[in-house]
């Protein structure tokens, strides 16, 4: 039997394997494995106290965790809150990003400074900006409440982040505003508009000038040019942005956790993951909610890679 001499291509493949080995190992250990491990945990009755016990590896599967999660009377509310937060937060951040991009588009002095300023909410650490906003919105020491009361805009301070409902009297019509949820959504818009801003700005700069010139010659006014040229040119980037923002907002934990801890009607699914694990010490149920999040994410990614990525 003759041993085949390693060809040039074999050598290259082997080299590639070793070059990718560290990355592959780290990702396997800290991304792929946790997801599988999470699935395993979601099918077991595990509490936070059991972590050092042997029961973790026994093969006694149960669907009890999923039954508990779906049977929870709060589940419907949490799901609805998640959907409202995700949709409104995504739309708001994209709208603000679009506005900011239109404002900064074009040549004028100080433009690059403005661009830098507009990206800073996104660059700054989440703990710093959430604590600053909590302070600004605080009912006792917050500058916003003090100014509003001082100027007679408000009769009394509003606990923006800790009050569930705010009864508003709009020209005789009573409206109940979900106060804390609205504040969290506004924060989401403030913090993440730079993401949309960057992409829309890049797209705006790529629209050929000839389109505008041709339209001007044909007598289109600035507003007409915006609605008939700019917006249609942006539609692809806007829909992709929406998909990405939706996925990320849906899975967002830090912001709400730091702003409200999920209190006052802001409990979303990601907060539920944490609450089950560290509020009720139920790791199994926590993993089950995480699996639901993961399932929804997979569906979105499938949609993206099957349809949207192919079109582009």
């Amino acid at each position: 039997m003759t041993r085949r001499e390693p060809t040039f291509f074999d050598q290259e493949a082997r080299l590639a394997f070793w070059m990718l080995f560290p990355t592959f190992t780290v990702v396997l250990a800290f991304v792929i494995f946790p997801v599988i491990w999470n699935l395993w945990l979601s099918l077991k009755a595990v509490s936070l106290g059991d972590l050092r016990g042997v029961s973790l590896f026994e093969f006694n599967m149960t669907l009890e965790n999923y039954r508990k999660v779906f049977g929870d009377p709060e589940f419907g509310t949490v799901l609805l809150t998640t959907l409202i937060y995700t949709t409104a937060g995504s739309v708001l951040s994209i709208l603000l990003g679009l506005m900011a991009a239109l404002l900064v588009h074009g040549e004028f002095p100080g433009r690059s400074m403005l661009r830098g300023l507009f990206i800073s909410p996104y660059i700054a650490p989440v703990v710093a900006v959430t604590f600053t906003w909590s302070f600004i919105l605080d009912p006792q020491l917050g500058v916003l409440n003090w100014l509003a009361v001082d100027k007679g805009l408000l009769a009394q301070p509003i606990p923006f982040l800790s009050q569930r409902w705010w009864d508003l009297d709009l020209l005789g019509v009573r409206v109940r505003v979900p106060m804390a949820l609205t504040s969290v959504i506004l924060f989401e818009g403030w913090r993440y508009f730079p993401f949309a801003f960057l992409f829309i700005l890049a797209r705006l700069q790529a629209i050929p000038d000839e389109l505008y010139q041709a339209a001007s010659v044909d007598g289109a006014t600035p507003f007409q040019r915006f609605f008939h040229i700019t917006l249609p040119q942006l539609s692809a980037v806007l829909s992709t942005l929406f998909l990405f923002r939706f996925i990320w907002t849906f899975n967002k934990f830090d912001d709400i956790f730091l702003l409200t801890r999920g209190q006052a009607g802001t409990k979303v699914l990601t907060i539920r993951v944490y609450d089950y694990a560290f509020g009720e010490f139920n790791i199994g149920a926590s993993s089950a909610v995480a699996m639901i999040l993961f399932g929804v994410l997979s569906v979105f990614l499938l949609v993206y890679f099957r349809w949207i990525a192919k079109e582009e």
Partner: protein, 282 residues
């Protein structure tokens, strides 16, 4: 006035107003963070609505207290250590890996490129509980080096993807001369690829630094011992322990925000490239 002129005027007015509103809303929290950190507790309690900054009354006591009494000197060192090590490891491994994915032929190369993107979409909240369980059981969860490995897993896929896109723009012919002269692949990377990719590497380094420096969730869940806290973890600890003394929390927030914003302003162009090329998760 023609319709064209009228609309142009309206647009100009809207634009100036819009810019002013945007600037105010974006900049105010940063301004307020800084101004409040320069005040004493007394000033904050007495005049919560005082918008101005009186240069003569700048009070740095909050910084002193946070740094020396609340352990932030230590947290700064920890954050620098975690971020720098993450950046060095991530850039090194992503350069080598990115080179392999772009230039070497092997089975599963296409699959690798796709799965990199997929992995990058995995949300931290799904990963944190199983990792918490696993490392608590193994008994080494409360470790700053473990945190670095987690950050590496979070940043490597994007870093590799970004560098792959960058390497694809370099003409392979430049390397051929080196390879024919008998250079190994690693010396090609070291002598040819790295010098040519400096801007791409800068983007990746900045981006990775930002992720590691700003990260909150894993640091919050993994670290128990205050000596090991990163800045973000430290700020949360501080905010939970002082109720009225907002000036302390604001001073701590300035400390964690300032380095990243300064970095960003200095190297804006690289970071923007990184943000749009990698489409940062957040």
């Amino acid at each position: 006035m023609s319709r064209e002129r009228l609309e142009k005027t309206i647009i100009q007015i809207l634009r100036v107003m819009g810019l002013l509103v945007f600037i105010a809303i974006v900049a105010f929290p940063f301004y307020w963070m800084m101004v409040s950190s320069f005040r004493s507790l007394g000033e904050i309690l007495l005049k919560p609505a005082n918008l101005g900054l009186d240069i003569r009354k700048i009070n740095l006591h909050a910084y002193y207290e946070v740094l020396f009494q609340h352990g932030f000197l230590r947290y700064i060192c920890n954050s620098v250590y975690v971020s720098v090590v993450t950046v060095v490891l991530s850039v090194t491994l992503a350069t080598v890996g990115g080179y392999a994915v772009t230039r070497l032929r092997f089975r599963g190369r296409e699959f690798m490129s796709y799965s990199i993107l997929l992995i990058y979409m995995f949300p931290a909240i799904v990963l944190v509980i199983p990792l918490y369980v696993m490392f608590s059981r193994m008994g080494f969860r409360d470790s700053i080096n473990l945190l670095i490995l987690v950050y590496l897993a979070q940043t490597l896929p994007v870093a590799l993807y970004m560098l792959r896109s960058y390497f694809q723009t370099l003409p392979p012919e430049i390397e051929h001369a080196g390879l024919i002269d008998g250079c190994s692949r690693f010396s090609v990377i070291w002598r040819i690829i790295i010098p040519l990719s400096a801007p791409g590497l800068a983007s990746v380094a900045l981006y990775t630094f930002m992720i590691a420096w700003n990260e909150f969730l894993f640091a919050f869940m993994f670290l128990d011992t205050p000596e090991k806290f990163t800045l973000s973890r430290g700020v949360v600890q501080l905010a939970g322990s002082v109720h009225l003394s907002k000036q302390l929390v604001m001073a701590a927030s300035v400390m964690v925000t300032l380095p990243i914003l300064v970095f960003f302003l200095l190297f804006e162009r690289y970071l923007v490239r990184g943000l749009t090329a990698g489409a940062m998760k957040g």
